[in-house]
């Protein structure tokens, strides 16, 4: 009993926030989650922001807690979709093309007219990128070519703008195909072979972390001047007082309420997480963690160093 009290005192706020993930490994899953949630839900003055959310986002603590939680949730989820993805992970790429819900209806036939590439902003920007060749690889149903594609940077140049979609003479969905192949590349770990593919680990924690903890892909504090110097000094000025500006405009930064920055009740977050799990997404996220851990060891980096590096490479 005494040691428990001592333990919980040790765990409380600032100490944990500064820790790197390897320093957190002795703390059990439950303790970690509870510590995080108690910090998150600590209220400020009435009607004001919950003060700790801004200290928690993007930290090693949040990431480590996410890892544990997501592993746990996936283990307890026996949804058929989750199983499907677990099996698909080991099946050939050609199997995926015929069975994945999006991939199987993405391509019918291609006359190689090039109208997709003509419109593609990425094809104009990246000299080596040609979306038509992706269609060709998929229609050829050649496992080796597909694996090569999934391992290359080329798969990751598409900006998912759908400029190709309204024009295709044969009504193909090239954007959907690329999206589906990217999912597969990550499941199989092929994304580790390309600079842009490795970035997915950073994406997982940036967007995925926001989704998991705040049920919103972007958290307003992510888009700060440090990460977006291209937005200029006016934006930096705005962001320096973002809480007050958001309140002024009627948003709800880090507090319950409508619109931007809102803190959602745990019950909504739970439903949202359940939907993610039931749809099989956690298979991907767990897989990404596994691949990243392996790749980090291979490169002699800690997981946090690895996370940092992949978001800056290229």
């Amino acid at each position: 009993m005494n040691s428990d009290i001592k333990r919980s005192e040790q765990m409380f706020p600032a100490a944990l926030l500064a820790k790197r993930s390897e320093e957190l490994k002795d703390i059990s899953d439950n303790e970690l989650v509870q510590a995080y949630e108690s910090m998150r839900d600590e209220e400020g003055a009435a009607g004001a922001a919950f003060p700790n959310i801004k200290r928690l986002y993007g930290t090693a603590l949040e990431r480590e807690k996410d890892r544990r939680e997501i592993r746990g949730q996936a283990e307890h989820c026996d949804g058929e979709t989750q199983k499907w993805y677990e099996e698909a992970r080991n099946a050939p790429c050609t199997w995926w093309l015929e069975n994945h819900l999006v991939a199987k209806r993405a391509l019918k036939s291609c006359i190689g007219c090039g109208i997709c590439t003509a419109r593609c902003p990425a094809a104009h920007y990246f000299p080596e990128y040609n979306p038509r060749t992706i269609v060709d690889a998929a229609l050829a149903k050649n496992e080796d070519r597909l694996v090569e594609l999934l391992k290359s940077d080329i798969l990751w140049y598409c900006g998912q703008c759908a400029s190709c979609k309204p024009k295709c003479s044969r009504e193909n969905n090239l954007m959907g195909l690329i999206s589906s192949l990217r999912f597969l590349a990550q499941l199989k770990g092929y994304h580790l072979c390309s600079v842009r593919g490795r970035q997915q680990y950073a994406m997982r924690h940036l967007c995925g972390g926001n989704l998991w903890n705040r049920a919103c892909t972007l958290y307003f504090r992510n888009v700060d001047a440090e990460h977006h110097p291209d937005f200029g000094p006016r934006y930096a000025r705005y962001h320096a007082e973002v809480d007050d500006q958001m309140v002024r405009l009627g948003a709800s930064p880090d507090r319950p309420g409508p619109f931007g920055g809102r803190k959602l009740p745990p019950q909504t977050i739970a439903e949202f997480r359940a939907c993610l799990a039931a749809g099989g997404t956690l298979v991907l996220w767990n897989q990404l963690e596994q691949w990243a851990a392996e790749d980090a060891i291979k490169k002699g980096l800690s997981i946090e160093e690895y996370h940092d590096r992949v978001s800056r490479e290229g």
Partner: protein, 347 residues
Amino acid sequence: MAIAFNALPEVIKEIPENDFFLTPSCILGAVNPGTEILIGRIYDLLGLRWRAAGDRAESQCTCCTGFSSHGDLISIESTLLVAARLWSVAVELGFENIATACVTSFAIHSECLELLKHEPGLEARVDRWLQQACGRRLHIPKHVVHGSDIVWRYRDALAQKLRYRLVDHKTGRPLRVVDHVGCHYAKVFPEKSIGGAESCAVLTGPILAWGGETVDYPERRHCCGMGFRQCAMRPNRGYTMACVLKKLESMQPWEPDLILTNCPGCNLFLDKEQWAIREITGTEYNIPTLSYSELAGLLLGWDPYDVVGIQCHTVPIEPFLDKIGIPYDKSKEWITNQSKEALREVR
């Protein structure tokens, strides 16, 4: 100067006249919060019924996962479930119509509808998964529209209420407005947009109804380059900047007074990358960018700083206001040089 594609489109999709469950946007909420709140204010002005959240703790509105889905992190089944959950929340409130603040959401909801329609057995499976996951049932909404669809529909009614018009108040010249329609509004399902992918009218309609002129330039339908993972990761952001630059270079000969958008990402990048572009290329384009809701708010005479939030923009909007003759108090722009009391009064 060609005034292209301004005729009323032949195919106009059915836009319901009332009762909307408004789903908010990640990007708007993060960087341009006034923009989506304005959508609600416009609906209030028009006397429409709308809600953006359920009443129960478990019925709040979440992200549709669109950005993450196109960032290749979410399975299609998870997206289907998240969308189905939102539809279920709408049903709790008695709404059959979904209005999205974001165009990617619009395409996501539309894609879910299409898959459910065409994939045999999927409806039953999603219903079952949804029940297992969070005890909800699948209800297919009657309509999914984008916020700008509704403003398009009511553009003439709004025109009656405008205090200002898209006209240079000194010379009477109609202002030249570039319409930049979000790719996910017009290109993913062109038949679900007003006017289709090539001749989309959702923004040109209000521009013309509110007194302005449209601009046709070569890169008019070019993507702004947001690109999801391309803008999210710093090493990739050159692509985004290049796309924005391409558009700005292309539109410059027509000297537009404004870029009008209906997509959160476009609104963000067409505006904010102009600073970096100036630093890198030396050319200052200085073309103000506004969303359709921000423009409506300004023309209706709502406070530029307290209500519309023009301070969120990198390219200053004030010169545009000067052209129209909309007054503003520049001292209200930033908060930190104001006392908190003054701020409370203003609200």
